[in-house]
Symmetry: C2
Subunit: 502 residues, 2 copies
């Protein structure tokens, strides 16, 4: 049994590896030799992969509904509700983006090829079916045709990964839209251009602005699908030790604490004000420098507070004499890896900013703010990771113990519930931890919201763009920003757990 499992994992992994390599070579060829390999070639390859994945996803859906014994177990820890919710949110945004692309292609019908109409339509179908199947089946432990399932999952994962690589390196859409916006400006000043212009001007502007705004959700969506497909792939053929056992119920969420939520709400309100100001300004041609100053000043105020709160929380752990849960726990290991991995993105951007700012000898106040922002961002990520990872290893021991007798389990759960309902028994350390966790949750929500909904001063302030060149900085930001958004989402999840278990 284990032999076939290992062999199947190896084989499907190799399949994905080869597909990813082939696609990457295509994309690199396009980037460095646009004459020999065109964007259309890359799109053709991706459309083939998408159609294959689509067929497989439909086949999977049909088998699991036909065969009642195909899925015996469900992994209770896979696909929590916030992951599935973000999947649907990002999926809808990606579909909107592609609808805008179709609209853009239709309004330029006289000068664009029909292929440019076909590709977004295939993408819409692929995203819809994938979102639906993942929503429904992300907890499955497939027992039927395991090798075929592994290969299919890996093919879909490779397709998503290639879509992500293309999205973070291919800036042609941005170039095209910018060129066209410039043409509009020229036309209004009287110049006649030979550039392809669209039929309906207002609709075009909506499509183009919308595409630019929805673009980050596309990369976000691909990343999320990759992690969910990976979890499904790991679960193929898995027999859970105790399928009848209920998932460990987390204690109910009850608000406690005063100072933490208040400070967090303050940060939330301030963040929303800056966000609204920035979005209004972003409609103009250029964003005034004082808005950048405002944005960075907000970060420079919030980040040290978050760092100090995380460090204080980590110090409380050291004071506690609670036993550590050091048992092997695959879900927690994946959580820790995702948290650390996602932090690589924003930390990478921060270091690149740092070098760019230092190398250009900052004199302007804005450059100094950016310098402070980058340094504080790195420190904040390190401190928050220490706090969350420490908290995840601090879970109550009764949960880690395997249930020998179900009566004992019930008893211990009842005890825990009673424990959590009696807040009078909370000691000062637990109160401090709860306050800190709530403050960090609110701060992470506002720091998640701002980049997720289109505030990207890293790209628009121009300092790093001039230093590294447009394409390099585009790739760095497009690699790091979606990981940063993912990091904030994931840390909110982790912090909620820390809050509940404190």
């Amino acid at each position: 049994h284990t032999k076939t499992k290992k062999a199947g994992q190896l084989f499907s992994g190799l399949l994905a590896l080869n597909v990813v390599f082939l696609g990457s070579a295509f994309i690199c060829g396009m980037l460095f030799n646009g004459m020999a390999v065109t964007l259309t070639d890359v799109w053709l390859l991706l459309a083939t992969l998408k159609v294959l994945s689509l067929l497989w996803l439909l086949y999977y859906e049909i088998t699991t509904t036909r065969k009642s014994r195909a899925v015996l177990h469900q992994d209770p820890q896979a696909g929590p509700i916030w992951v599935r919710g973000s999947l649907v949110l990002f999926g809808s945004c990606t579909i909107c983006l592609n609808v805008f692309r179709v609209g853009n292609a239709v309004s330029h019908a006289d000068c664009k090829s029909h292929l440019e109409l076909a590709f977004p339509i295939i993408q819409i179908m692929f995203v819809s079916v994938q979102t639906w199947v993942l929503w429904k089946h992300c907890k499955d432990c497939m027992q039927f045709q395991t090798n075929l399932t592994r290969c299919g999952l890996m093919l879909t994962l490779a397709t998503d990964l290639l879509l992500w690589i293309l999205a973070i390196t291919n800036d042609s859409m941005h170039h095209e839209i910018r060129a066209e916006l410039d043409t509009h400006l020229e036309k209004s000043s009287g110049n006649l251009s030979s550039f392809c212009v669209c039929i309906n001007n207002t609709a075009c502007l909506v499509f183009q602005k919308g595409s630019l705004m929805l673009y980050p959700f596309n990369t976000e969506y691909c990343l999320l699908c990759c992690t969910m497909l990976f979890v499904m792939w790991k679960n193929v053929g898995r027999h859970l030790a105790a399928p009848a056992r209920p998932p460990p119920s987390t204690p109910p969420f009850r608000l406690s604490g005063v100072l933490g939520p208040l400070l967090g709400l303050l940060a939330l309100v301030a963040g929303i004000c800056i966000f609204v100001l920035f979005q209004i300004q972003a409609n103009g041609p250029d964003i005034a420098r004082r808005y950048f100053t405002l944005y960075y000043a907000f970060y420079v105020a919030v980040l040290p507070a978050m760092t100090l709160a995380s460090l204080a929380g980590a110090a409380v752990y050291l004071l506690e004499e609670r036993e550590l849960d050091v048992l092997k726990n695959p879900t927690r290991s994946l959580d820790v890896v995702l948290l650390m991995g996602a932090a690589l993105g924003p930390m990478g951007i921060a270091y690149f900013s740092l070098v760019a700012t230092v190398a250009t000898h900052p004199r302007r106040p804005l450059s100094r703010l950016i310098l402070a922002y980058s340094l504080l961002l790195v420190l904040q990520h390190i401190a928050q990771n220490l706090f969350i990872i420490g908290g995840l290893h601090r879970r109550l021991l009764c949960e880690a113990e395997p249930a020998r007798r179900s009566s004992l389990l019930d008893l211990s759960q009842d005890l825990r519930r009673a424990y959590f309902h009696s807040y009078s028994r909370l000691n000062w350390k637990q109160i401090v931890l709860k306050e800190i966790a709530l403050f960090l949750i609110l701060c992470n929500i506002v720091l998640w919201m701002m980049p997720a909904f289109g505030v990207h001063p890293e790209f628009e302030n121009g300092l790093e763009k001039d230093f590294y060149g447009y394409r390099t900085w585009f790739t760095i930001v497009n690699f790091g920003l979606p990981l940063g958004v993912f990091y904030r989402m994931h840390s909110v999840g982790g912090l909620v757990e820390v809050y509940l278990e404190a």
Copy 2:
């Protein structure tokens, strides 16, 4: 205890991550904006890191000799003799390379800064001390000052990683030498150039040719040090379950088989002939096309034979009814990860070649040969990985069982020795496996030798260089080739194990 271990690993890992990010940002800044961040800045950063690592390595050496209780256990599986041998070989080559650099800087003394003399000298000191410490201590399980040791090891690892990143992206040395060689040609044809020329012409030529030839060993050395330091880092604070237990003795090496060794020797002799022809030709200004044809034809002949042999071996595993050893085994997991990871390099090169060849519409016979070569290379890597990984999971079960009583262990080892000494008991499957393993060992040795000692037709044939551009292809080849050499070395190690255990 586990709490401090986890915390120490997390903290030292974060330290290394930050150092690597800072260094990468410096290197990227240099690549994309050479005016603001110069190569000297990067060298200064690296020299600082090297001096810090050097001091720490000396401190480690002193503590371990002073404190007799600092290292209680030795990990018997870490640092086998072939790894330590390659460490010394590559280390000496790196030192030679830096001696040549010093010589080059001295002979250009009038037009180069003194810093260019200082950096290779620091590098020589760093490499010597690091090689010495790793040779002596790579099996250590350090018990004393574990957190400091972890941080020191991670600092050294980060330094090696940054040296590797710089080596694979920085082509300035190659540019400089090529420009100077061109100047020599111009001068001999009568033109006077303002370019910096060296004092002693013959010595210069030796230094420059030598630097170009020894360059790949440098990258190889950094990679090897990284893996050894990582193993040492994992072993810090580890208590081995049975320190008194002798390491599992592998059966003695005895040659068996006729057809495999003969075919392998044939490939070896043919490979050496082509290698010598190529090296003689490489002294001329341009390598004639027929030598490339010869080289690729050799590969196109050998690779299918290796693929078929690996697949036949994998088929024999399926026929066997032997129990699989599926116990957790950290050394084997690391072996498998390294084998798969190292295969990424040559497979990446092959896919990039493939796309370049197909996109330029191959008509010439040489292009078609390159196409076949790339495809076969991918297939060979996949098949060989399947064969070796299957073999590693097939170890005799008595080895996997933990020793309850030492008398039982001795008995089982005696039994095993008796088993291996009586070749009459080998059945046909074992004979086939031994033949295949020997053939693959010899083939891998020849495929290791050719790129390791300076035959790089991927770079010199010009097809991919023209397609992707000089710098991109330089980075891809410099990333993939050392990994490919590492892969061949590592598979020889794995195949020897498969041969012995068959």
